[in-house]
Point group: D4
Chain length 217, copies 8
């Protein structure tokens, strides 16, 4: 497993990461880390590997796009002195074009997205043991849907940057696409964005597989 | 316009009709008729045609499928002695197959749907001035989506019955399909089922056009 | 229609405009624009003309008179860089004389009203594509009522200024007067000021007619 | 004063009497008698005449018309074995014609009103020391307003019956009409029906004057 | 009556005056002036004398003693530019000696009380048309009770200062003492301090008699 | 100590006993026995004498007088099969004469009180190991106060019956009278009826002394 | 895996199973199955094995002991016609002896426990595909603790019955004992009974291993 | 008794002391001092010794460890100018190692604890009449439990410092250990940290015995 005893891992992003975490930093007892995929990762790490102590901190904030995230990167990521940073961002960057088409300042282009993403990586990579990139996703099986298409563009940016910088990447969209071979999107989310526990487990499992988590104990 | 001064119109169905209406019968001042498409119909009728007094009653109940509706038809429709009945049912009949695949008793087949629908028409038609049938819908533009396909099957049943019994029919799915040429489903609903005000206005407008409402005053 | 694709329209005024809008600026998803006439305008524009994207922003604040409005004009109107400004103000300026006769500083004279109104127009007109003036009103059919008389004086000011500056004007009082030929004021408001949905639709329709909105689609 | 030490007085009617009284019978400590005119009568009786103990009971129910009142007369008036009964009813009987013109069963004609009122008097008068009739009212100064006209019709019925049966009568409409020579209706009620404390004091004072209450102590 | 059309009267003091008034200044519609004796004064003035417009402002604050009052005198009394000031203070100055005997800084001696009271009068009298002094009270009929004795000492100070400066004085303790000839203290207050409506009416009536209010209209 | 390992003690009475106990029977973990004197007795028994297990059950109900208590005696006392019964009743029997002088059915005479009390004793004594009688009280030091006098009459009844039937009796009034030599009633209760924790401890201590509780452990 | 496509599994027991499940039967969308170990089982089954549809129903009720469970067995287990029944009961049977030592009827002896447990098995086994027994537990590592000892006695009963009837058994106590080699009980529960998510995952994992769940997909 | 008439005693510490006390300083009427052991001390002092007035102030804050306490020592202890200071701190210093093993900054070593504790004593002792030290505790009877062991280490520090500086010390751990000879920890706390009323009485009694409180009056 990538993480070692004593490591601190900061998860950051938007509402999918946030899920009602504690402020200012989501960690500790109870629902400190929220009730989304971060909690399931926290739960599985601590239930199956109690011999390893890893500090999980969640600084996702609902509604954030990559510009919002950049604005608070110093305070909410670097100042926490993480060993590892996991980020999932980009959903709102795309979504707002479709549900608030009139509010232009909320629409992020792929170029803005890529440039800002790159900035965050170059700023962070030298100061941590590693970063894990999670692509944004849209739980829409139809690849011709315009919002799905736009989200795929963002996902491509993330995968390309992961390759370029040699970072582990969780292709969340692919995880959901495979799941939709068996179940309908409505089974794991009401709005195709915010996963219920089953959807969150899909994200958690993919993340854990990526970092080499051992399920056999 | 189909409706005349002094007529009573009962709208019934599921949560799309209900939208937090008053119990036991949704009517009267304030949000008595709920806050969905029924209220917009009520608003437009009374704002543009104050010379005509029409009683709007709403007996939709969230979560209902056609069997639930049949079970309360006497009390919630016939006992109100309506002049007109408008019904929109079938969404939950299909939806539950996809979001609760394990709870079989909530899955309604097209045959059950058609037989029960027919029963309600034959029971009601002789006792009212007329019935208006509104098809169920799924705000999913992709016709290959399995839930959309299943919903289209139900919509076909409604349109066929409307033709057979000579009843006016509002093809709500078509209304939304046309709208999706310009905007994404996420603009009018979070879950592709429950319309926000813009989505509700699309339903209201289609209904009013069907009954010959005059927009010029 | 006056408004074109990409335009931003700021509605401002008192509680009739506000209607529980989001702070600091009322816009976006859900009930961001409040639940009054501004929402109905937003709903009809987006339901009937999805091909045109217009940004609707609401900065009405309950209880405001024209002096309150002037005090926040820079921040709540000009700073938003609107293409169009719609304003409805004056009701509280008159109302307070009648329900709080002892609190003199809340009583605005027609002269104060006219001078301030003129200031706002001269400050704003050169910086926008256009302004739409909506008269204040009192849903009191009796023109001899002293509060109605005083409100009519304010309405005259607005209509005169609209003529003088060549601005479109919505004569809201006339809209209600016509409606009262058929229905009693209690049908559309409990307090003869705050319209329910039917009353709000009367305002919305009059506004939309004024800007050349097409009801046929 | 009509009332004597040890007497029980039951006030009944609609929301103007009710004003959030305790259930099932409004009496006793605190806000047991509600917060409307009945409480002011209770307050003045007990503050200025502590030497006399009079039991005040309130059984008004919001929304009631005369048919609703009749339906519960036995339980809410006669079973309490009052020495005196004060009733004020009729506002909703008229109001519903104007704010719910479509719901016919809520519209009470003057004839229904008179017949039912007469029934209640003939049933009650022999069993009590006396009844006090309070006319319904509409805080609308314009006597040509159709709802005011309809309310005046009801008031005439009450005054006629009071004369016929020799009962004291409080002409509440006249009380308000005189007040409107100085202040606007909006000063004492938001909806021209439910009085604030000032309006309630006008009712209380008129009632107390009618029963020969002494203000000098 | 002392007060004339257009006068502003500021009532200030502790919780007996406050009674949940609006902040920062208690005035205007609804329960702006609180629900205690100040509201009853407001109600009676406006109900019986609508021809006279008097502005009632309430700046009582629960828990205040005379030092607290002095600390906010500029802001809460003088800055409001009253024509008349009515003050009732001193209850907490005494009460805290008995219910919080251990918290010494809350115990005010008669000397502190008198000196501070005198300061407030000399500061205020030249700037207003007049001041009305209301004695503190304890609804305890037993004059040998130590808290009653201590309160009487304070009352004596107020009456002496009123005489010395020629100001009208409401002897509230005497009002209650007379009432207790007929009713027990528990009838008008649970804690012998905070009057219910009947107790508040006793205060209001005494105040109104003192200012020459006419009950006949 | 009167109570022995395994005994069940039922405390019953009015709000002083109740103090928000659990329904239907106040016992068990947390605040099951309420937060008044019964809890302090429970706390002291279990903290100082853990070697003895005694079941404490509370069935006091706020507002009860002796007739209310008799009506539920079978269900709330005898059916619980107690070894010991402690009762404190009579406060409301007297209080209502003073705070609700108009509601006669709530006024209990000493004769009614004595007869009913006697009935309860004769019904219960043969079925239990013993009864403990607690007198009602009024935290009023002035023995000439009419409510205190009336309460003393009730207390005399209890003490006389205790003597007659040879039952232990807690003279609660005497406990408070002694305390008032040092502190004012306002120190232990706001309304001279409902004790705060200090007042409740006085009751608990007197009870425990009566049953021979050992404070030295 | 024991469970097959289309099977219904009913989980029943006390608060550890309940965890705020929906009433009357805990199943379906959202938190229908509660938020404890049952939800984690539901989540893992549906996330990792979407090809298999299994109906999970939860009828645990907080505070239940085995007698409470027996009393509702017909309605809450058999009437649901399950294919599989999983039960975990016995914690409260023991706990009440220690936290409510005075309330004897809540103390269940091992003999009562065994006899009742046996009854439930013999009644149920012939009507289902299988039963899974989960032992009660106390998250107390010290085997000499009297409550732990008593719980172990109950656990022995369950393991013995499982052997006797050939039923799969989850030894939950052993699961926790192993975990305590690495972490303190306070890490997974505040009260050593109600597991947080980490504790619930330990239960879920042990259950899933017992039924042959495959973690590799 | 150590405390004399007029003394002020400040209790400070963590949640066991806090127990929902008033902010900023916990004192005065009602639940000002919280609902834990401090209130019981307050209650017993004032109920049994009304002749002595002692001011009890509570500045405990939930979650505090000794570093948190030091950070606010000036404001929350010294600035209050106490005659006596009672402190109980150290539980969280140990607990966090076990329930939040990953958040290192919350883990306090015995050396940090001792040094900081010593600082507080040397800073405070010269400025007060005396200090009372209460050891931290863990309601865990098993002395081999690692958290109990760690807590005992802290308790040893406190006892050693008390001896060194000649300060009275309450050995709270010993109090609970003796109690556990009769009852299980679950009888007095759900989480072995926060005592219910019975547990709080054990602390209060031990404290009062330490200061020479007389139970006989």
């Amino acid at each position: 497993m990538l993480f070692q005893n004593g490591d601190r891992v900061v998860f950051t992003g938007d509402s999918v990461t946030d899920f009602d975490r504690k402020r200012p930093v989501g960690e500790g007892l109870g629902e400190g880390v929220g009730t989304g995929y971060v909690r399931l990762i926290h739960t599985l790490l601590n239930a199956l590997h109690p011999e390893t102590v890893i500090r999980i901190s969640n600084t996702g904030i609902g509604g954030n796009n990559i510009l919002d995230l950049k604005a608070r990167w110093q305070e909410d990521v670097l100042d926490l002195q993480p060993d590892w940073v996991s980020m999932m961002i980009g959903i709102n960057d795309v979504w707002r074009r479709f549900d608030e088409p009139d509010i232009f300042e909320g629409h992020i282009t792929p170029a803005q997205y890529e440039n800002t993403y790159r900035e965050l990586i170059t700023l962070t990579k030298p100061r941590v043991k590693g970063m894990i990139l999670m692509t944004p996703y849209f739980m829409e099986p139809n690849r011709e849907d315009p919002m799905r298409k736009a989200m795929d563009e963002m996902g491509e940016v993330v995968k390309r940057l992961a390759g370029e910088y040699g970072l582990p990447c969780v292709d969340t969209q692919q995880v959901f696409d495979e799941y939709f071979r068996y179940r309908h999107p409505d089974y794991i989310a009401w709005d195709r964005i915010h996963p219920n526990q089953v959807g969150a487990m899909l994200l958690a499992r993919a993340f854990l597989d990526t970092i080499g988590f051992s399920w056999d104990v």
